[in-house]
Assembly symmetry: C2
Homo-oligomer: 495 residues x 2
Amino acid sequence: MRTAASPQLLALLPVDRTSGVPLHRQIYDGLRRAILGGMLRAGQRVPSTRALALELEVSRFPVLAAYEQLLHEGYLEGRVGSGTFVRAAPEDAPRPAAGSGGRAAPAGPRAGLPPRHGDGEGDAEGGLRPFRVSLPALDQFPRALWARLVGRHAHRLAPAHMSYGDPAGLAPLRAAIAEHLRTARAVRCEAGQVLVVPGSQAALRLCASVLLGRGDVVAMEEPGYAGARAALCASGADFAPVRVDAEGMDVAALHALGAGVRAACVTPSHQYPLGVSMSAARRLALLEWAAGREAWLIEDDYDSEYRYVSRPLGSLQGMDAAGRVVYVGTFSKVLFPAVRVGYLVVPPALWDAFVAAREALDLFSPTLYQLVLADFLAEGHFARHIRRMRAVYLRRRQALLDGLARHCGGLLAVHNADAGLHVATLLPDGVDDVEVVRRMAARGLAATALSTCYACGARRTGLLLGFGGSGEEAIEAATRTVGQVLRDVCPGPRG
Amino acid sequence: MRTAASPQLLALLPVDRTSGVPLHRQIYDGLRRAILGGMLRAGQRVPSTRALALELEVSRFPVLAAYEQLLHEGYLEGRVGSGTFVRAAPEDAPRPAAGSGGRAAPAGPRAGLPPRHGDGEGDAEGGLRPFRVSLPALDQFPRALWARLVGRHAHRLAPAHMSYGDPAGLAPLRAAIAEHLRTARAVRCEAGQVLVVPGSQAALRLCASVLLGRGDVVAMEEPGYAGARAALCASGADFAPVRVDAEGMDVAALHALGAGVRAACVTPSHQYPLGVSMSAARRLALLEWAAGREAWLIEDDYDSEYRYVSRPLGSLQGMDAAGRVVYVGTFSKVLFPAVRVGYLVVPPALWDAFVAAREALDLFSPTLYQLVLADFLAEGHFARHIRRMRAVYLRRRQALLDGLARHCGGLLAVHNADAGLHVATLLPDGVDDVEVVRRMAARGLAATALSTCYACGARRTGLLLGFGGSGEEAIEAATRTVGQVLRDVCPGPRG
């Protein structure tokens, strides 16, 4: 039952002492009109007569008279001990449709893009299904510790932290991020270059605002992340797909695009979706391309914290002597997505433009989580959490690889499982990965079809299988289901 | 002292067992290089030998040997009971400059726009100075209650609420906002039309993404809100200033702009900055203009909750039969700015486009504050808070008006004090309001100069004096200072 009390009826009750209409009649009319018009809904609490009288600055008598009439006519009902409520209207009057043409607004959550973070089903539980890409181990997050930090800062919240904040972010958080990035990712940066934003999506959107206007071209990895395409083209830029091979983005193909390419967006640490890590030679070639053309490189380092088969590589940004790299990172994968904190490391020459664009975008980030995060980093919890998660993800990844070998042998090839939170797999020729994903979804699994990561042209088919969000047993069971689905759809001896 | 522990040194320590170089030497070299190169900074904690050995997957001996050498050479220092730290390097080696050309990134917070929320000084206290525009009574916010709600939800935080959320917002919050808007603002809406975004700035930015491409024209109030101009023109649109008179935006002047105006942005409840409320006749004319031209109206209802001299007016959106109004609201003024929650009420025909743009912008809003806000509204705290604040603001406004009459008589005319959180005043001809504001700032006050709200052409000069953020005594004292400043700068008998 909805018990929301919204006693601010002033806008609905334009009481006018000079109109000659008795006050109780004006109040009665206003409330009745509001109920019949759907502005007040069945089950909604109305203010007490005393509160409404105060609000309207009238005596309580006309309000009592109006309520009595409305109760009598069945528009309102009193419930003992809990107040007065709108009743389902006697004649259940038609409600005005919202907006134009009476078409109801769709209540459903989503429009277009197939995001890197999975298929984003509307229901909350759907968002946690096995194989959802980019979902971290939420069950392993130190929630009690986090809640303690949140509680600590919520109770201490000073007016200075409730007011308008610095668009660049809270100074201690920026310092902690800079230190983390220098150490863990070999990013060359000062705190003064760190811009705190609500996630890597917003970071990419800002890159579009600052770097990419209508008619500009941004080179993007093919296959790549549809969410990055949506963000980077949102200011009217066009994108040019550039193929990815075993060393990352093909820089020769990038050169072949000619002049007019203003920026290239890459995921050098862990290419999304294929998983390859860009070779050193390719990195140098890319930096040379950018310096030579005075183009910008957007390094989307979305989940580089975890590598399983070799040493982590430093960032591309750290190799850049020319200040052409804008570095993008996020806490969504290392903490949890709903924290909505990401960051940019901005070349000094672009700083003012980025801060202005950030202010035009959303002024600044919520302060509470910035305070909490700053402590979480500075007190060492963050580093500890990453270390602990590495062991967790190693086990989950192994469970996935073992399960695939056991249940899907010959039906699916592991393409890359070196890093991050998902394994990229390839399906045999002729198998429709979208259909496989559809069938998996019907059985409660949430993989992403590789072919949907291509913007155009020739597509490889495969499954992107997230392993971060589920325990080993769930993963093993899920791989069994994948095997069954694949045997149903794959042509073969049984077909 | 900074004690941040960031033990993730893997990127700095590319230990290679096949290189022939002893492990302890590789570790020593890597750490020394990192310290001299500025990737590890003086005062920064390094991991324990045990933790680093685990991380590098080597035995502890080579790590111990490397640390011993670095301690001996003065690169590291041990502090009893608290670990090992980087020492100020023996020769205090030069650090590589970040980014290009060695130019340090500016650490300062802000670029361009003179925002509606005041002058946004970098220092936290500066943000709370008397007369800051749009600052609510942070000292009166029910912080303990709020902290309790935050703590409750932080402790309960379920994985489903840590994962990726609905870009439209949390369902209970959308329902509560819709109910509030229907009741308090006479907005005609269903929860399915409510899009939760990080503040009204982001809402305006989204309007630009969806409605305003390069070459489009958006009509804006003159004088108006520079932040809205920045947001609405961020996708390449041009703006056309339209003068504001005693009834609000001059719709005849809007018509005179001819075709090609795709949208008009208005503040009908409380014009920013002049304070007038748009007349009913003007509202109808504006709606007719939009319907006839198939143009959009953006209703920025940024602080309509408080009116002091007449009944609050309903929203423009609620009078719109044609579905041409996009309604924008925010919790910044009724709760506190750092909560960063605002909302749009979107006409059904635009819903999909807005959700897609919102996803491209920043995916979704942080979940915790949405949960807290939903409770705050549903449990009636919100309505109670607004009611309580109305009395507080009445007192503060009166203190301001009394103080101005007492200390600034004849030097300053109150133009409008009907609503909202600021009083618009006019200065005598020939007085430079920017200079007055500069002198006020030097004396610890934070007013906004009216002339800076004009985008072009003839400017009136005056002071926008926020009264929300300070108590009556502070306001009285501040008006005395204003009087002194004005007597210094105004030409007159004493001049």
